[in-house]
Symmetry: C2
Amino acid sequence: MGRTVTSASKTPASRTASDAMMVLPITRQTVTHQATEALRERILRGMYPDDTPLRQDALAAELGVSRIPIREALRQLEAEGLVVFNPHRGAVVSSLSLDEIDELFELRSQIESDLVRRAVSRTTAEDVSRAKEILKAYEAAFRAAEVAEWGKLNWEFHSTLYAPADRPFTMAIIQRLHQQSDRYLRMQLVLTHGQSRAIDEHRGILAAVAAHDTKLAAALMRQHIVGAGRQLVRFVSTERQAAKNGSLKSRRT
Amino acid sequence: MGRTVTSASKTPASRTASDAMMVLPITRQTVTHQATEALRERILRGMYPDDTPLRQDALAAELGVSRIPIREALRQLEAEGLVVFNPHRGAVVSSLSLDEIDELFELRSQIESDLVRRAVSRTTAEDVSRAKEILKAYEAAFRAAEVAEWGKLNWEFHSTLYAPADRPFTMAIIQRLHQQSDRYLRMQLVLTHGQSRAIDEHRGILAAVAAHDTKLAAALMRQHIVGAGRQLVRFVSTERQAAKNGSLKSRRT
DNA sequence: AAATGGGATATTGTATCCAATCTACTCGAG
DNA sequence: CTCGAGTAGATTGGATACAATATCCCATTT
């Protein structure tokens, strides 16, 4: 019974090394696919902040392709919830309200704590050591505030813990929710320079999983996500308040 | 605080009446949008069964448009999980394995029972009477095996119960999961001519909601979904076994 | 001075056309 | 007779070109 790791199937440790060897044999990537990945990456990295209008011509020129693959990519990202289309007016990067961010994290905590619960009993020593490896890289990226790496590694850590549950369908959904939350978490990470309880919490969760303490692992995971959500809502709240005041001030000049 | 009903915002009772008046003023629908809806509808109705290859030329001719809007529609449906793309080989209607169907319903039961739990205390008498109206139409469609109506009404009933929870984000996700499950439930509905406990179960759930019995409502909802999932897995299992035997026999000739 | 209307401009939406790739079939060699 | 190479047809992927729509500015009017 093979476990599905939902597109995060690259082994995390040897990723940089294997990429060149894995990808070269299959240069069979369609331009639309590449455009989708490029745009998703840029949105997630915060290169295009919330509510940025996404001009098809500009994106096409930037990526060196025509508008057709851009449009198809935007459609896909729309369905992923990263952009919003307005007929004849173009697409903009989607923006979550505070309520939606709150809801997002509550939903995540519910689903992901359940995933851990299902996974723990099936988790092998190998799984744990893999998670440990990822966690090491994660902490480095976290401290260095390397937002690009951080997001990937955060997902890899979580998904490694969930993988033994063997729930590909649920994983795909959770991965999208992670995408959405990471957009804002990264922002917070950059501006707070890594002030967070995330590292300790991750270690605690991993320890509980390694000890096969199902209840504890699930509870810690829930707390971890709920806590991160609360913290993030506060952060975004003050950020937006500041931005609003700033725009008011500048409008007044 | 307005409740979001996630695109099912048409009031169900006056739908047929209001459609003509509501839609005519804004004929501003893009062809891509119409194509997306048309194709989604057809897949959900079972007009294109699982694994049907979706030829862009054929679809374009059928809808009387060029291939561009078709391709964009297919991209969107891909992100919704209804079709799968193979580079340079075209799109096919996606197919769920038995394990995935099982997982789908377990996930639904988890999320939806939680939604009911949150909703009950805020449910008004008006909400209940609306649900009652929908249920009436639902039962009629169910008995008549009008698959097209049935699916919509089933979702409307469920979403009406969940709406007071005020969880737009979760609702959007659940709506997609409903889409996936309905594809198979409809098949079952047609072939079993409405043999199901669904009607009684819906009434029971609504009664519990009306009585503001949170625990009972949530428990019944969970049972309803889990039960439907189990029944469906059995049904699809035998269906596929039969299909396989049939194809074996025909291959032997 | 404010509001309204018209037109220029920018941007998106769709169709047509060409290139790249896959599939299936034929033909020939072993 | 089987297997493989090669070629023809079909189909998708992508670019260019054109049409439809929205936005913005400015003139004109009240």
